[in-house]
Chain length 192, copies 2
DNA sequence: CCATGTGAACCTTTTCACAGCG
DNA sequence: CGCTGTGAAAAGGTTCACATGG
């Protein structure tokens, strides 16, 4: 979140920012900002603040967003197509560089400049040095597909599946379940 | 996550489940399951486990998913259309009951049985007793749109916007930023 | 005998207040 | 004088071991 805010300020040409201002942009308190950064180093100047673009660079390094990274999309349904059309990955030096689907009618189609490949061929990801994947397949196929992705050398998965998937310790999965997130909202509401 | 798993088990007709089995489905430990439930009551039977569908009902009640709830989609772009086409909300007694966009060329179109309305008319949400919204608009429009949603009586927002939005204390916002989530994956990877 | 529910120990995160530096 | 960086206190969450009950 800090990086996201800092990139916006960089684009606007601002040179430095205080923990207070950054906190406001992100929706936390200033002491949280300072404490968080303090775990990784001393990035600011007392009396001045933090250097916007230099700090963005530091956070990129911490998050290992140094070199440009490629990700593969698996499952080109409605959500998959929306992801392919989304241009917001480049800010983080990320790129959707491949797409796979099991529907042979889709294989060969080119969407947003990406040719859809047969999911049976995911093993090519290892040779292409792609270690990130976005998973947008139905629940029923999820575990099977994840197993093949792990087999293909994928190390990180952003899953949009409405279920938990099992992976080896070395693989990281972040799960986004839109319906579940929406379903958690009423809990915070006053009542009915 | 517990509710999601329990609903699956209900569909499969299973009557009871142990904290151990439920934990495996969700990706946590059994003691975490028992401790979590213990904050809200005693739902299980020693030596047997938890009654699947009854526990699902309890969690629905805790999350205030009792009566069927309606949500409005704001922003019918690629992501918005994917959300309209998604059928996973009904498991939680949730329904996308309205859609809004600022593009007058889209207004009047019917997608997935929902007629797209002019975003200038969001105030109608108050009369229709809709208090949840899904926000899928560009960053530049987000704060303005959120302000109008709050004005229209919206109490919970699931936002897909790549920025923080300010809301009154009484309104709850859950933010999903796909690019940011993908960007956080490399941090957990071994290296390069 | 088996699986729940929970007090207590342990660990992490958040909050605070202020020393210290440009 | 303003804003950072941080030790210490407070709060919160996780893990464990076991008493309890069907």
């Amino acid at each position: 979140m800090y990086l996201r805010a800092l990139l916006s300020w960089t684009e606007l040409g601002r040179r430095s920012i205080s923990s207070e201002d950054l906190a406001r942009c992100v929706g936390v308190h200033s002491w949280q900002v300072r404490k968080d950064f303090s775990y990784f180093g001393e990035f600011g100047t007392p009396g001045v603040g933090y250097p916007v673009s230099r700090l963005a660079g530091q956070i990129k390094r911490i998050l290992r967003l140094g070199g440009s990274k490629k990700a593969a999309l698996v499952g080109v349904g409605n959500l998959g197509r929306a992801i392919l059309a989304y241009s917001g990955f480049s800010r983080y030096s990320l790129e959707i560089a491949a797409a796979f689907d099991c529907d042979l009618a889709k294989v060969g189609q080119v969407i947003q400049g990406i040719e859809i490949e047969d999911i049976a061929r995911v093993s090519v990801l290892r040779d292409r040095k792609i270690s990130l994947a976005l998973l947008a397949v139905p629940v029923g196929a999820a575990q099977e597909v994840v197993d093949s992705l792990v087999e293909a050398g994928i190390k990180g998965i952003l899953s949009f599946t409405a279920c938990h998937v099992a992976v080896p310790r070395k693989v990281k999965v972040i799960n986004i379940d839109i319906a579940m997130d929406l379903a958690s909202l009423p809990y915070y509401l006053p009542s009915g």
